[in-house]
Symmetry: C2
Subunit: 409 residues, 2 copies
């Protein structure tokens, strides 16, 4: 008998019929003798409907009141799921975040969980009940309702699993696991049976939007085994996200290939190569709340250097305007920029113990005549920036070169 | 400066525009220097939408879970109204029933308020905030969400007014006050400036559905002045419902005329006139959960009597089947029945000190050739049962005879 926390997202509970299907799935797990805590999101579309109501009132709704309102979405789903379980003869009880209580800080719309009182849930589990908990929400020390921000239901699931020392936290979603890369780009992409927290973080932050990145960090921090599963297919094992296996020999070198085309590249050319110049360039960018992703500075020639970084494409114009000003101030030669770029990244803990990954990556891209504009590396990741039009080709070539293609059936 | 509790029903907050109109009205009261606590219902249609979702899950939803879900309707409205107030620069804060806390018993879907913690509300008022409270809902001693049943938002308003010792509880609705009778039947019906709690109870229970009857009882018990006002018309004074004025001379003899056609009449004829026979007839009816309204037993002749009572028309068939059985058991002669009846009632505290009201009523009906089938009286009410087809005629004739018609303009 295991204690399992399952989380179902908005699509999985989008209609009464789907909620009944979730109840049926929960019933099957319970029949196997497991204790179950179920975390649910609002029915799909509901959160947006509520935000639309708020926006019909005011363009700048008060954050406390927004949370007070938006948290009702999950509250409806927990009650419906508990009803559906009881209609199947399964004792069940629903809890709002406040009722649990899931204590958070006071940061409305993006609160962080501080503690979870597991007494009531444990008592219900001991009495044989399935416990249904509203995701995405909590309560601050004064009794105000808070929400964890979009996707926060995953975080609720992981935090509950950590508090209850659950054997596994299962995240049900509309895909059946984590893939080596996006199957829409590479049809031969394979579902991974396992992936480490670190790899998942790199994959997620690079654009494989299966899981909320915060929930993966949380799961890693508290060592909660996390499994991604399909809520529409039965019997799959999904992908287990857990700590690094001890025997690195069994790890594949590369677990997956992430990519995105959400960034733009900015270069300040002919920057005087003196201490503090990087700060004088990036300081104003950061002050304008523009987040910078990759940063590359080449070695200098003639006492000047080129300074290149990427930002989200939405903030490209803003960053460019700042840079033109900065360029004069620091006495740089010129600013050049390009928003037709893409970032492609190899991710894998096996990289740590294997040399030659980078050179094989560059060789593969060279063979396809894809020019590399920027390179950035970390312990378990190598990212390159290429022209946007080559993105799919680069991903497919790398997927094959690193042996990730699924065997032909 | 007064402390005023205002309650707005579902129609008054049915759209974002109407919620903004409520905020505007609240702003005007606040500009006059009053402290305000606003109780709101769910947006019209929302509660039914939620119940529809539950019924799509199961025909017999668990009451705790139903309350957990249905209470979200008001929670959305309080947040939207608080946002609308803040958008006008008025400091405001919303509270769910749990946040207040409005403590109730454990009777899900029809809970009764046991106590109200007014500390947080008082603190907000002292700091100049408008407090917005979700109607219809509370929390039991274990932290479960409860609801007060349909129309319970009126009760929330009155209970808060009592707990806060408010100067007045204003109920905003889609009519501009309590009328001498239904204006759809008598176009000359007048709005009453004042009416007593007792009269209002008789009017409400007899079918003038302006206010939840429970809220009027509650207001009477705690002596909370209650005012019914239109939320769509400005400047009206509405109708003040309060305790009996001391100087009965100033009371009109009759305040209003109530009527309904929701009842059916059943008579057991030739009942042996022996002790206990009334119980042997009404016991089985009550045991079947059929509520009995008027009961009339005439003096006996030949040691038998006729026993007549009325029930809701929906339960007419059920009651009739029970009576046919009872008729044999008690040795009565026969059962007769009629579901084409109407009840017309004069209501007024002035009756207490004025003789001749009944005879004037009977005379008026006789002049119109309306036969009276049953008569029942109380301290402040005289009810008669007539053939249904005469109902409107009876109400109009009585309205004129008792001087209730509005003066011609």
């Amino acid at each position: 008998m295991a204690l399992i926390v399952q989380k179902y997202g908005g699509t999985s509970v989008g209609t009464p019929e789907r909620i009944k299907a979730v109840a049926e799935r929960v019933a099957r797990w319970r029949d196997q003798g497991h204790q179950l805590v179920i975390v649910v999101s609002a029915m799909s579309g509901e959160t947006n409907r509520l935000i639309g109501l708020a926006q019909a009132i005011t363009s700048d709704p008060d954050p406390r009141e927004l949370d007070q309102m938006v948290c009702t979405g999950e509250q409806v789903t927990i009650a419906l799921l508990a009803m559906a379980l009881m209609a199947r003869g399964i004792p069940a009880r629903s809890y709002t975040g406040a009722q649990v209580a899931i204590r958070t800080d006071r940061s409305y719309t993006k609160a962080r969980i501080e503690s979870i009182d597991d007494a009531a849930i444990r008592a219900d589990l001991a009495e044989g009940r399935v416990v249904v908990v509203a995701g995405f929400q909590g309560i601050d020390v004064d009794g105000n309702t808070t929400t964890l921000g979009r996707g926060g239901s995953d975080t609720t699931g992981v935090a509950l699993a950590a508090a209850l020392h659950a054997d596994e936290c299962q995240i049900y979603t509309d895909v059946d696991g984590v893939y080596t890369t996006d199957p829409r780009v590479v049809p031969q992409a394979r579902r991974l049976n396992r992936i480490t927290f670190e790899e998942m973080l790199e994959m997620a932050s690079l654009g494989s939007k299966v899981l909320q990145i915060r929930s993966v960090e949380f799961a890693g921090k508290y060592n909660v085994p996390l499994r991604v599963l399909s809520s529409f297919q039965d019997g799959g094992e999904g992908t287990l996200i857990s700590v690094d296996a001890e025997d690195a020999m069994e790890q594949p070198i590369i677990s997956g290939i992430a990519f995105n085309r959400d960034e733009a590249k900015l270069t300040v050319r002919g920057v005087p190569d003196i201490p503090g110049v990087a700060y004088r360039i990036l300081g104003p960018v950061g002050a304008a709340n523009v987040e910078v992703d990759m940063i590359v500075q080449n070695v200098s020639a003639d006492n000047t250097t080129d300074f290149t970084f990427t930002v989200h494409r939405n903030e490209y114009r803003k960053a460019l305007a700042i840079l033109e000003q900065v360029c004069n101030e620091v006495g740089a030669r010129e600013v050049s920029s390009d928003d037709k770029i893409a970032k492609v990244s190899l991710v894998g803990v096996g990289m740590r113990s294997h040399a030659g990954v980078a050179s094989k990556m560059f060789e593969t891209l060279a063979r396809e005549n894809i020019n590399i504009q920027m390179i950035s590396t970390s312990e378990i990741k190598i990212s390159v920036v290429v022209q946007e039009k080559y993105m799919e080709l680069a991903v497919r070539a790398l997927h094959t070169a690193f042996g990730l293609d699924a065997p032909a059936e």
